[in-house]
Symmetry: C2
Subunit: 230 residues, 2 copies
DNA sequence: TCAAAAGTGTTGCCGATACACCCATGT
DNA sequence: ACATGGGTGTATCGGCAACACTTTTGA
């Protein structure tokens, strides 16, 4: 908190970006993330998380967004701080503390993503051999995603405004890596009160048209609980 | 991650220290924390979290420990990263990013704490008017403590090696601020498998001598679950 | 008419709560 | 003896997993 000038220490902000895409072989939805190829030492040529130095006039989250816009063209809505990594030896020849964010992008945002020359997407569970300690960071972010989806309605962040409960269930299944019972899933989600029906239905399927829902974070479960107990 | 030199930006590490002490009026156990009086601008004279600039050759957690040892004489065992605070305007006249840790100290550690001239302890729920954004940080740390104690066996970190279940329950009650049913609490804790009986009993009480337990993080619940399902 | 997924109903199990009750010690 | 907290037993309630069953569409 004091004004000591720090010479060799630099502060970077990086982001773990998660999107859902079909797996190349199985076709099943899985978690993917974009990586950036390093074009200088250290770790020249290796893949790394998108990131960059923190600017003087930027908040931490703003820095993460700026880097994402520059490297991948993404402007995601959900963005959350993950952890600060600052081991002395994590970057050869320099002291770099990285404050890492993680983010979820929707299919429409994902579609707008313009992969630059040195940007490529990978299945999140397969990534390894990244620059710096980024293997550990990706692992940590994946754990957080899988933990948080079980107690927080973040799955909506993977979907567009209107969605069916089957689509929402696909998100959970992709993230958790296992099938869920459609009947029980429906009841769980509706009991939370985090979605509300739009009244519209999805047509064109070869079966009964599913109802469309929107996420309802303006009237979360807590409010309902207060009303119920009152 | 690049080597750009950063001039005006400095990185500090601060820590929210939690200990349990009896409340002055009610006598009931509550959460306390030590604060340090600032002796320079900005916020000269106000109370602030213990902290200091990050040294080049120190890991983040090591920096937190060093500051604690210097200001309060504490060497706590439980130490966890809380959050990185880096809003542009959080420190007048300078850009400071603070990586904040939180820690729990045991009564014996607490007893060793030598309060310096400018160090004073306060009930955690009462603190306000701190320097910088430290009010927000303390609030955030308290929320984390109260959330985490419900799903993680961190309460042990408030106790010495041997303790009774009643003492452990007092910790929960102090943190959560409400009474717990002794019978059900006992079953919950034992079902977790995070404590094991030492075989010894606490004597000198005016009632039946309670059994003493130690924390058992070497054989956590997960191991038992695997054995059960095998 | 059939396949396929949407959506509803029902049952059984498990964990948590509430609370009655017995146990062992100091005074 | 009795007060006090330690410790055990048990009934009840609610949530969740499993799964049978009905509904509605396109082909």
């Amino acid at each position: 908190m004091t004004d000591t000038t720090q010479q060799r220490l630099s502060l970077a902000v990086s982001t773990v970006v998660f999107a859902l895409r079909p797996h190349l072989r199985t076709g099943r939805l899985t978690v993917w993330l974009p990586l950036v190829r390093r074009i200088r030492e250290p770790y020249d040529g290796l893949w790394a998380l998108p990131g960059g130095p923190l600017e003087d006039d930027q908040d931490l989250a703003a820095s993460a967004r700026a880097t994402l816009a520059r490297t991948t063209g993404l402007a995601p809505r959900y963005l959350e701080q993950l952890y600060a990594f600052g081991d002395v030896d994590r970057s050869p020849g320099a002291r770099v503390v990285s404050i890492v964010y993680w983010t979820l992008v929707r299919p429409d945002e994902d579609a707008q993503a313009i992969d630059g020359e040195n940007v490529e997407w990978f299945p999140a569970d397969d990534v390894c051999g990244l620059a710096f300690d980024h293997d550990v960071i990706v692992r940590y972010a994946l754990d957080r995603l899988r933990a948080k989806i079980t107690y927080s309605p973040i799955a909506h962040a993977f979907l567009t405004d209107e969605f069916t409960l089957a689509q929402l269930r696909e998100v959970y299944e992709a993230v958790l890596g296992r099938r869920l019972d459609p009947a029980n899933f429906r009841r769980q989600i509706l009991a939370q009160g985090t979605v509300e029906p739009t009244g519209r239905h999805l047509t064109g399927t070869s079966h009964r048209p599913p109802a469309l829902y929107r996420s309802n974070l303006a009237r979360p479960r807590a409010t309902l609980t207060i009303e119920e107990t009152a």
